[in-house]
Amino acid sequence: MAVKTVIEAIREGMDEEMARDESVFLIGEDVGNRGGVFLASDGLYKKYGELRVIDSPLAESCIVGVAIGAAVNGMRPIAEIQFADFIAPAMNQIIEEAARFSYRTAGDFNLPMVIRAPWGGGVHGALYHSQSIEATFSHIPGLKVVAPGTPADAKGLLKAAIRDPDPVLYLEHKRTYRLVKGEVPDGDRVVPIGKADLKRVGTDLSLIAYGLMLTYCLEAAEKLAADGVSAEVLDLRTIKPIDQAAIVATARKTGKVLVVHEDNRFAGIAAEVMAIIMENAFDALDAPVMRLTGPDVPAMPFNHVLEDAFMPNVEKILAKAKELAAY
């Protein structure tokens, strides 16, 4: 085991899968010679050549459309959207085609493809480089959505996504790329899609999060422990299909749950998690299920102060968790 960053884990995951399976290839803007704007594919162009690491035109509809065509023909494409914010031009390909292809063909065809999209704020990226898109795509049946928060999960879930027979939207949080470091197990370790992970065990309340917010929740839990509050942290890892059993188990255990995400509040993932808890763990609740989310404003602001106001952070989580603990 070695300590790696999230971006290193993603690069390694792609490299290993491309070496293992010749049908795996990467397509996206600047992924080739440039190695991707975040250097996720650094070195892969040299190693696997221009036929397997393809620089696309600046057209997301093309990137995803090519990937769909290739997947139908037995390839396993990885389509990189440079920033999740730019995914809108490919909405038609993703929702109308990719998500429904298997259903439309009664299972005769399936699309083993991955769409990688760097998402999230806290990087001073403003309107076009900071958005969260998980709620939008999780609403679409036929799509799987994963959002790892640690290097080990980033690599393991990428492998699972590439090997999955269906389209998977793989969300990698930009802020975690070089911020979050962790042990990555050696060898071919696949993290199954649809399984949440209890990152910290506690008894008084549960924090449920994914992506960057996982790191913040773990920090908050550490501080809560110093105040005598034992917080459990559940990392969803996969947003869809969501791990209902794990959510219900932690809710039943502590009776107090706070869901945290930076995506907008209305109809966000927290709302879904809260509904699952109300449907399945109502009789074990000791407090209203709470959520801490980004606000319902059009986009992440550029102004530093406003960006901080938008983003949930450790202090905000701590304050909300204390409110929950005191209930």
């Binding site: 422990a225 009776g255 109502f282 009789d283 074990a284 609740l285 000791d286 407090a287 005191a326 209930y327």
Partner: protein, 426 residues
């Protein structure tokens, strides 16, 4: 109108009992003037008025216990520079109405909030979460038992934890009774026990119960005893006590001498002046010695802060002052907080071996047992009459091991046995 709330009179204090109202409705109060006396688990305190004005209403009667944050009184702020009473109605409505209104207002105003105030507490207490309801059902908690549970949540809400704590507490005497019943089964079969009297739990009794239970449930106690030859100390005290009384106005007891010895022992073995935490053993910089004082309905442990900076006479004065104030109910919050080690003196009642319970988060407590004259084999295999005392140490075995505990006791013993007139008293 400003509401006065039950203040938090120290960390971990969750409720307070109104002892005495120092002002009555209608009285003028100055800012910071004493408004009410409050009894808590730990101390009695006078709560000052948060602002100047007229005490409009007392919401909590004397003798009633309420949780921190509960509204206890309403003060009408005094409005500066308004000599004449404000006219509540517009002049259009005529003189009669304008006169009637202020007369009626003072009567009607108190009755409405009084009703609200009574309803507020019980309602938030009875609004039980599903988890709490399930636990009540599971553990067959009666309404009477429920009303005895102190809610630790917002506005006194009973939380899941409160119920779990209650169930844990309730289980203890029940098991003990169960065993007892088994042992005396034949007798019990013939005669049902006559019901006894229940003494209501005072805040202090309850606090002692909670702390002792917590200590025994969380701290793995270990216990060890050292036998100390106190002959030198006894002789010294005999000689010095009259002069001391004359000079200081208080009696020279054994307690400050033992506390001094304990301070020396803790300096040599700092790991006993410490606290357990999941992050590690916290070594305390200050040596703050709690001295157990028995009071009317229980026990209180005021703290001599920075005892390592005091002479024996300084310790004697500090302990005497704390004990007097403890018995008079005049201790302040700082007087009972921050202890790092405790000394207990059951020996005055003639005990010879005492197994004290540690006061969390401290790591140890030392009991002084009775000093008794006994035949002892001394150097040269002679038998001599010596004044002997047992020092019993309970310690948190998570924090330290028997070796350190024994080293501490040995240090204390050597210091006491080596006592001479050269040891400075002042």
């Amino acid at each position: 109108m400003a509401s006065v709330k039950m203040p938090q009179l120290g960390e971990s204090i969750t409720e307070g009992t109104i002892a005495r109202w120092l002002k009555q409705p209608g009285d003028q109060v100055k800012k910071y003037e004493g408004l009410v006396e409050v009894i808590t688990d730990k101390v009695n305190a006078e709560v000052p008025a948060p602002l100047a004005g007229i005490l409009k209403e007392i919401k909590v009667k004397e003798g009633t216990t309420v949780t921190v944050g509960t509204e206890i009184a309403v003060i009408e702020e005094s409005v500066p520079a308004t000599a004449a009473p404000p006219t509540p109605r517009s002049p259009k409505e005529g003189g009669e109405v304008a006169i009637a209104a202020p007369a009626a207002a003072p009567q009607s105003v108190p009755s409405v909030p009084a009703g609200e105030g009574q309803g507020e507490g019980p309602e938030s207490r009875t609004r039980l979460s599903p988890a709490v309801r399930a636990l009540i059902e599971e553990h067959r908690i009666s309404d009477a038992e429920l009303s005895g549970i102190t809610g630790s949540g917002i506005a006194g809400r009973i939380s899941k934890k409160d119920i779990e704590d209650f169930v844990a507490k309730r289980a203890q005497p029940a098991t003990a009774n169960g065993e007892q019943r088994q042992a005396t089964a034949p007798a019990a079969a013939t005669a049902a026990p006559t019901p006894g009297t229940t003494i209501p739990l005072s805040p202090m009794r309850r606090a002692i119960a909670t702390n002792m239970l917590k200590s025994k449930q969380t701290i793995p106690h270990a216990w060890t005893v050292a036998e100390v030859d106190m002959t030198s100390v006894v002789r010294f005290r005999q000689k010095a006590k009259d002069g001391f009384k004359l000079r200081e106005g208080i009696d020279l007891t054994f307690v400050p001498i033992i506390v001094k010895a304990v301070v020396e022992g803790l300096k040599a073995v700092p790991v006993l002046n410490a606290s357990w935490s999941e992050q590690g053993v916290v070594l305390h910089k200050d040596i703050n010695i709690g001295v157990a004082v028995s009071v009317d309905d229980g026990l209180i442990v005021p703290v001599v802060h920075q005892a390592d900076r005091m002479s024996i006479s300084g310790l004697a004065k500090a302990i005497d002052d704390l004990a007097k104030r403890a018995r008079a109910g005049k201790l302040g919050i700082p007087d009972v907080q921050g202890g790092t080690f405790t000394v207990n003196n059951p020996g005055t009642f003639g005990t010879i071996l005492s197994y004290s319970i540690i006061a969390p988060p401290q790591a140890g407590i030392l009991a002084m047992d009775a000093i008794v004259k006994r035949p002892v084999v001394v150097e040269g295999d002679a038998i001599a009459v010596r004044s002997m005392m047992n020092l019993c140490l309970s310690f948190d075995h998570r924090v330290l091991d028997g070796v350190s505990a024994a080293r501490f006791l040995q240090g204390v013993r050597r210091w006491l046995e080596g006592f001479s007139e050269q040891v400075p008293l002042y």
